[in-house]
Amino acid sequence: MGHLDEQFRQVEDLQDEASPNFVEEVVVVFFKDSGRLISNLEQALEKYPRDFNRWDAYMQQLKGSCSSIGASRMKNECMSFRDNCGQRSVEGCMGSLQKLKREHAILRQKLESYFQLLRQVGPAGAATRPAM
């Protein structure tokens, strides 16, 4: 499975001449929001031990954002975390969170490279999206 699914193409299709940087703007907001949510969740894991409902609520929000930009691997880790909440497994939740953070970092790096490449090739080269 790639890091991004078809939904990212939908987001790219929204970009037009009036908003030529829309995709990058969305991605910037995504990483700002997701970073904050992950940080809030980490604090909640410490401050509210075994409060699976609270943990799940944070992850529910993150899952939504991941879905909206097509961050498929991150979304899967969100779902895994929520499953672990349902099973009331602290260890499972911790494991899922670590995987989620890894995918978050990888996706950020890949998208930064992607946008850098787009800036180099210009609008004509943007027609072919590198596989992610």
Binding site: Q7, Q10, V11, D13, L14, S19, F22, E25, V26, V29, F30, K32, D33, A57, Q60, Q61, K63, G64, S65, S67, S68, I69, G70
Partner: protein, 125 residues
Amino acid sequence: MASSLKALLVEDTAVDRMVLSFMLRKFHCEVILAKNGKEDVDMFLEGNKFDIVVCDKDMPIMTGPEAIKKIRAMGATDVKIVGVSADDNAMEAFMSAGADDFVPKPMRLEVLGPMIQEVINMKNN
């Protein structure tokens, strides 16, 4: 597709607000934003009229379904209300609150388009 629909987007997550509002604008909707269910209800209390409301489920202060119940109770029965959520179990909550449709996130243009067209058709008739 030409449209002069007035859309209210009720969404607390910034990414979803950006993507959904752009999608609505692609269909030439005028988009008004609310960040939670209470702001949603306040829009109606202030006398605003909308052709379509696209509403998230889990939001601070007031959830989407709670807001929808209040809006319908106010007599706003004509406005099309679409619930959207990444929660797979959200459909029941939205529909029992009085929503017309539920779309699991992520919203897609090919799903939103026909909904917008339906509202345009009803408005023209």
